[in-house]
C-alpha cells in the first residue's frame, strides 16, 4: 500500500461543515439574516425598471433596426437603382427587388434602372446588415427603430413606399459613455 499522494494537478475539494447540530442551526440563522439583509438592500437601491412604453432603452448608434431607403437630397431621386445586390447578399432571402427601366419622362432613380418593387419581409429579416454593406449606392441603411410588431403577417412585408417614407426617429440614442 502506497500512501495516498495526489499529484499536484489534483485539487482537493474543500467541503463545508456538515449540516445539522448546533453549529448548523447557528449557520442557518446567520445565513437567513444575511439573506434578509440582501433583499432589504434591493429596496434601498430602488428599482431598475424602465417603464417601457413611456421610457425606452436607448440604443447604440450602430444598432441595426428597421431598414430605410434613401433619396438624393438635392434632386429627390431614389438612390436605389434596382441592382438586386442586397437581395443576393441577404442570407435570409427576405428582400425582393423587381427592376424597371427609367424613361426620360418617368425618371425615378439616378441610374438607368430603378426598383419598381422593393419589399422586405420583416418576419424573415435577421437584421444582419449585409444589405447595407452590399449596396453600392448607400441606398439602403439600417435605422434604429426596433418596434416592429403588427397584427398580421402580410402587414410586416414592408414595401418601397414604407421604407422610403420619412419616419420620425422613435428610438432614443445612447449618448457618449452611457
Amino acid at each position: 500500500m502506497t500512501p495516498y499522494n495526489p499529484s499536484p494537478d489534483i485539487i482537493e475539494v474543500q467541503r463545508g461543515p456538515n449540516p445539522g447540530g448546533l453549529g448548523g442551526a447557528y449557520r442557518t440563522f446567520g445565513a437567513t439574516l444575511r439573506g434578509l439583509k440582501t433583499t432589504l438592500g434591493r429596496v434601498v437601491e430602488g428599482p431598475v425598471t424602465l417603464e417601457y412604453p413611456e421610457q425606452k432603452t436607448p440604443v447604440y448608434p450602430r444598432f441595426r433596426g428597421k431598414h430605410k431607403l434613401h433619396r438624393f437630397e438635392d434632386t429627390g431621386l431614389e438612390k436605389c437603382v434596382g441592382c438586386s445586390l442586397c437581395a443576393a447578399a441577404c442570407p435570409a432571402e427576405c428582400i425582393r427587388v423587381v427592376a424597371a427601366e427609367n424613361t426620360p419622362d418617368h425618371q425615378v432613380s439616378a441610374g438607368e434602372r430603378y426598383a419598381a418593387v422593393y419589399e422586405i419581409n420583416m418576419l424573415r429579416c435577421i437584421f444582419c446588415g449585409y444589405c447595407e454593406l452590399a449596396c453600392p449606392f448607400d441606398a439602403i441603411t439600417m435605422g434604429n427603430d426596433y418596434e416592429l410588431s403588427d397584427y398580421t403577417r402580410s402587414d410586416l412585408i414592408f414595401t418601397k413606399e414604407m421604407l422610403l417614407a420619412d419616419h420620425p426617429e422613435r428610438t432614443p440614442l445612447r449618448r457618449e459613455g452611457e
Partner: protein, 334 residues
C-alpha cells in the same frame, strides 16, 4: 349544562353585533391593502416597481383583481365532489374570520363607555384561535380532496402533515406567554404586559411562534401546500373565480390573525406612546409591521423541501418549544 368557556366581559347584544360588523369591515379593508403592499413590496425587493397601471400608483390593483375573479366562471372538474368542493372555501374563510374575534384592539373603555375594543374576550383565548386554526385545515384538506386532481391531492396531503406538525410548536410557543401572564385570555395577557413586552422574556417563544406562524398560514418559505412551482397551486388548483378568491382571502386574513395574535401576545397589544385612545392604531401599526416582515421573508427565502420541513418542525421547533415551556415554568414557579 356545563360551562365551556367563561366570557369575562360582555355587552348588550346590539353592541356586540355592531362590534362584529366594525371589526369585519376594518379587517376586510386591510386585506386589499395587504395585497397591494405585498405586490408593491415584493417588486421593490426584486428591484421592480410592482403594479402601477391601475389607478394612481396601482392603488386600484386589488379592486381590479377582485373584479376579475368575480366575473370568472365557477367551474368544477368532472371528478370533483360537488358539495365538498363548494363548502371547502367557505370553511376556509369562516374559520379565518371567526378567529378575528379574539384579537384585542383596545381595553374596555378606551374609547369611552363600557365597550371593549375586541370581538369577544373569552377565558380560553388562544385556545379558541387554535380550535379554529385546526378547523381551517379542513378547508384546505376538503378543497384538495374534493377537487379529484393529483396536484390538489398532493397539496392537501402536504398541508395536512404540515399544519398538524406545526400547530404543536405554535401552541407550545404560546404556552410560555400563558404561563407568564397566568391567563389564556388575550386581553388579560396584554394587561400582563404593563411593565415589559413579552418579546423580551419570551424571545425564543417569539421566534418559534413566528416560524410556526409562517407554516400555519402557508406562507413562504413553508408554502408547500400551494407550491405554485411544483403543484400548480396545490389544494386550490381546481378552484376558479371567487372560490379561489375565498381561499386567497382566507390566507391573507390568517396572516392578519397570526400578526394580531403575535401583537397581543408578544408585542404589548395596544400599548404604545401617546394617549390610551390611540391603542387600536398601535395594534394596527404592529400588525402591519408584522405583515411586512411576512412579505420580507417571502421575498428572501426559497421554499423548503418536504422532508426538511418535517424534520425542522419535529426535530428543531418542537424540542425547542418544549424546553422553552419547561424553563419558563421553572422560572415562574421559583
Amino acid at each position: 349544562m356545563s360551562v365551556l368557556a367563561v366570557v369575562d366581559y360582555s355587552e348588550a347584544v346590539w353592541i356586540q353585533i355592531l362590534k362584529a360588523i366594525v371589526i369585519f369591515a376594518v379587517i376586510l379593508q386591510i386585506v386589499p391593502i395587504v395585497l397591494l403592499i405585498e405586490r408593491k413590496l415584493l417588486g421593490r425587493f426584486q428591484s421592480r416597481l410592482g403594479p402601477n397601471r391601475v389607478g394612481k400608483w396601482g392603488l386600484l390593483q386589488p379592486l381590479a383583481d377582485v373584479l376579475k375573479l368575480l366575473s370568472k366562471e365557477q367551474f368544477a372538474t368532472e371528478t370533483a365532489v360537488p358539495w365538498m368542493f363548494a363548502i371547502a372555501p367557505v370553511i376556509s374563510i369562516f374559520t379565518a374570520v371567526a378567529t378575528l374575534a379574539i384579537i384585542p384592539f383596545g381595553d374596555v373603555g378606551t374609547w369611552g363607555g363600557t365597550i371593549g375594543l375586541y370581538g369577544i374576550d373569552v377565558s380560553i383565548g388562544i385556545l379558541y384561535a387554535f380550535a379554529f386554526g385546526a378547523l381551517a385545515f379542513y378547508g384546505l384538506m376538503l378543497g384538495g380532496w374534493a377537487s379529484g386532481s393529483k396536484y390538489s391531492f398532493l397539496g392537501a396531503m402536504r398541508s395536512a402533515a404540515q399544519l398538524i406538525s406545526y400547530e404543536i410548536a405554535l401552541g407550545l410557543s404560546l404556552l410560555g406567554v400563558a404561563i407568564q401572564a397566568g391567563s389564556l385570555s388575550l386581553v388579560e395577557i396584554v394587561h400582563a404586559q404593563d411593565n415589559y413586552w413579552f418579546i423580551t422574556t419570551q424571545f425564543v417563544g417569539f421566534l418559534i411562534f413566528t416560524v410556526a406562524g409562517f407554516a400555519e398560514t402557508n406562507r413562504a418559505p413553508f408554502d408547500l401546500p400551494e407550491a405554485d412551482a411544483e403543484l400548480v397551486g396545490g389544494y386550490n388548483t381546481e378552484f376558479g373565480g371567487m372560490r379561489f378568491g375565498s381561499f386567497f382571502m382566507a390566507e391573507y386574513i390568517n396572516m392578519i390573525v397570526i400578526s394580531g395574535i403575535a401583537t397581543a401576545m408578544f408585542l404589548g397589544g395596544w400599548r404604545g406612546p401617546g394617549p390610551e385612545a390611540l391603542g387600536p392604531l398601535w395594534v394596527l401599526i404592529k400588525i402591519f409591521l408584522f405583515l411586512v416582515f411576512f412579505i420580507w421573508v417571502r421575498a428572501t427565502l426559497p421554499r423548503l423541501r418536504y422532508d426538511q420541513l418535517m424534520s425542522f418542525g419535529w426535530k428543531v421547533l418542537l424540542p425547542l418549544a418544549t424546553v422553552n415551556v419547561i424553563v419558563t415554568a421553572i422560572v415562574v414557579a421559583t
